[in-house]
């Protein structure tokens, strides 16, 4: 019996003003509805233009559970195609990245497709001469994803034919992406350094909520960040701060630090921590970089760009990024209790390599399968995923600093320990799960 599919009121009832029902994390049917609606109606990050510099270059990825291939068409534009042969459904592009050559060619029966998905050739075409093949869905080739938008080389897609436009969906939240990109003296990023892939045995939304959870670092990460602080103190007097200590130590900042840094929410579930300052504010300067920025932008603008140190920006539903260290994570839903976390890193074009080195170190220390910070985060998610099966209380609390006037369309700056952004995400969740 279906409890949620086709029952919009039942879905709406899962999200209250300051709490959500545990089924949003544990119910397989609800996960299936998320894949069919939420991940169809929202704009989901696909890839970066620097991954497909030449014609027919491609990467393969997923939007929700839907396999897609992002490629560079012969006219230079970026295309996103459903990665499924229209004939028998075989996945056409199989590697994480590559170049298709003249055509995407299905390995099963050699149907060949142009980089816009249209059919270039089918062997023995006369077999279809006396059929109505031309009016079949197969004749369209590899179906292009309904809506694609490239924003300063970041490629997003919406699977649904109709729905909210890109600008309306993201609005002012794009300022976080802008700040990350502007940190390059030429305003350009390149994917660099490989991708860390970390499998989590928990629902994808737990990870997204944790991004703006500022009352956990000094608790859950005391064992790693606190130890780094202690070992940092043992280093010789006057020695430069060890890079790992510099990255770990701010996690141990007191509650007041996080309260003061602020959280900003935007409509449609986007938001960020670190309005005035963040754990990324006090990294040591990289020699030569500031001068390059001043030469490129002028001193005032350079200071404005580098003085913005937002912590985590959430691009609802499943992307997050850190401008000050040029890192991005994608939370790919696999099952109701399984999520693949991909950590991507960027090179600031024409900036010193030392910046990329720090970016890679940060991702390795915090977000890798070998990261002690990651270990303790995952421990919390897994314990929650298991213990939410308790019937003692089916509700998960998100009431911290709740205000009675909150709506899904607010832009607001609030106390940095508020759970406002988590509530903001769930208001957007309802909006795109149950479109009006």
């Amino acid at each position: 019996m279906s409890r949620y599919r086709g029952h919009p009121d039942a879905i709406r009832a899962l999200v209250r003003e300051g709490e959500v029902h545990r089924d949003v994390y544990t119910d397989p049917e609800l996960f299936a509805v998320e894949m069919e609606t939420l991940f169809h109606n929202t704009w989901v990050y696909v890839g970066h233009a620097s991954q497909v510099p030449k014609t027919a270059d491609f990467i393969t990825t997923t939007i929700g559970l839907a396999p897609v291939v992002m490629t560079r068409h012969s006219d230079g534009s970026i295309r996103v195609l459903h990665n499924r042969c229209p004939h028998k459904g075989t996945r056409v592009a199989n590697e994480a990245c590559g170049n298709a050559g003249r055509f995407f060619r299905c390995p099963y029966h050699a149907w060949a497709f142009r980089t816009d998905g249209s059919i270039a050739a089918i062997p023995l075409p006369n077999g279809y001469e006396h059929t109505d093949f031309k009016s079949s869905p197969a004749a369209k080739g590899m179906t292009p994803v309904a809506a694609v938008h490239v924003y300063r080389d970041f490629v997003f897609a919406r699977l649904a034919e109709d729905g909210i436009g890109f600008e309306d969906y993201f609005g002012d939240s794009l300022s976080s992406l802008d700040n990350m990109i502007d940190r390059s003296p030429v305003g350009k990023l390149e994917v660099a350094g490989g991708v860390l892939r970390y499998m989590h045995r928990c629902n994808w939304k737990m990870l997204v909520e944790n991004l703006t959870d500022t009352t956990h670092p000094m608790v859950a990460h005391e064992s790693s960040a606190g130890m780094a602080v202690a070992i940092g103190k043992q280093q010789p007097e006057g020695a430069p701060k060890h890079p790992a200590v510099e990255i770990y130590a701010p996690f141990m900042s007191p509650y007041e630090f996080y309260e003061g840094m602020g959280i900003r929410v935007w409509p449609n579930g986007h938001g960020h921590t670190g309005v005035s300052h963040s754990i990324h504010s006090d990294y040591s300067a990289i020699p030569g970089y500031f001068d390059q920025m001043v030469a490129a932008y002028g001193e005032d603008r350079a200071k404005e760009i580098l003085g913005t140190n937002r912590h985590n920006t959430v691009y609802f539903p499943n992307m997050t990024m850190k401008g000050p260290i040029q890192a991005m994570r994608i939370f790919k839903p696999v099952a109701v209790d399984k999520t693949l976390v991909e950590s991507w890193t960027f090179r600031l074009v024409d900036a010193p390599d030392k910046l990329l080195e720090r970016t890679l170190l940060y991702s390795r220390l915090i977000n890798a399968p070998t990261s002690p910070v990651g270990h303790d985060d995952l421990e919390m998610y897994e314990r929650a995923q298991d213990s939410l099966s308790s019937d003692a209380n089916p509700w998960v609390n998100m009431q911290r600093l709740v205000e009675p006037t909150e709506t899904a369309d607010d832009t607001a700056i609030v106390n940095g320990t508020s759970e406002r952004q988590m509530r903001n995400q769930f208001r957007a969740w309802t909006r795109f799960m149950v479109p009006a």
Partner: protein, 164 residues
């Protein structure tokens, strides 16, 4: 001449590498750290055949400070991902001596291994090759570089909490 006289035999190099894995399996991590030179690295590449640990990411590229942070953390009573603790187990092929330079006291070994890490009801098997760069310091062997190449280094992993 004296360097040659003091040079470790192949068997001694092999014993050293085997002992290193045993210290990990017995979780004698302080003794394990004492096997490294102060400027040593423990490196686990992210990419098959990776050559650059600096501008490409890695699963580990730890110096001694970072290794010390990890080891001390494992002892702590607020280390929640270690409540309960993990255990681990190595099975190794006999280390083979790949190169020896008795003049500088530098040796390289190659050791295929299976490594198992377990916690609660889960156990995960890893397979790979360790390459040790060993150096003579004050008459004894030390690890200058331990490079661990996993067969599936680019797979999506859950937690890897101990050391291979």
């Amino acid at each position: 001449m004296s360097a040659t006289v003091n040079a470790p035999s192949d068997e001694a190099l092999s014993r050293f590498v085997t002992r290193e894995a045993r210290l990990i399996d017995e979780q004698r991590f302080d003794e394990w750290l004492d096997m490294f030179t102060p400027d040593a690295r423990y490196w686990m590449p992210l990419e098959y055949g990776q050559t650059d640990p600096i501008l490409h990411n890695n699963l580990f590229y730890d110096d001694l400070v970072l290794l010390r942070i990890r080891v001390e953390r494992l002892k702590g009573n607020k280390t929640y991902s270690q409540k309960p603790k993990s255990r681990c187990h190595h099975v190794m092929q006999a280390p083979s001596v790949e190169s020896r330079d008795d003049e500088t006291g530098t040796y390289e070994t190659w050791t295929p291994f299976h490594y198992l890490e377990t916690r609660m009801d889960e156990q995960v098997l890893f397979a790979g090759w360790s390459r040790h760069t060993l150096v003579l310091r004050d008459g004894g062997l030390k690890i200058k570089l331990k490079r661990v190449d996993l067969v599936n280094c680019d797979s999506a992993f859950g937690n890897i909490q101990l050391f291979m």
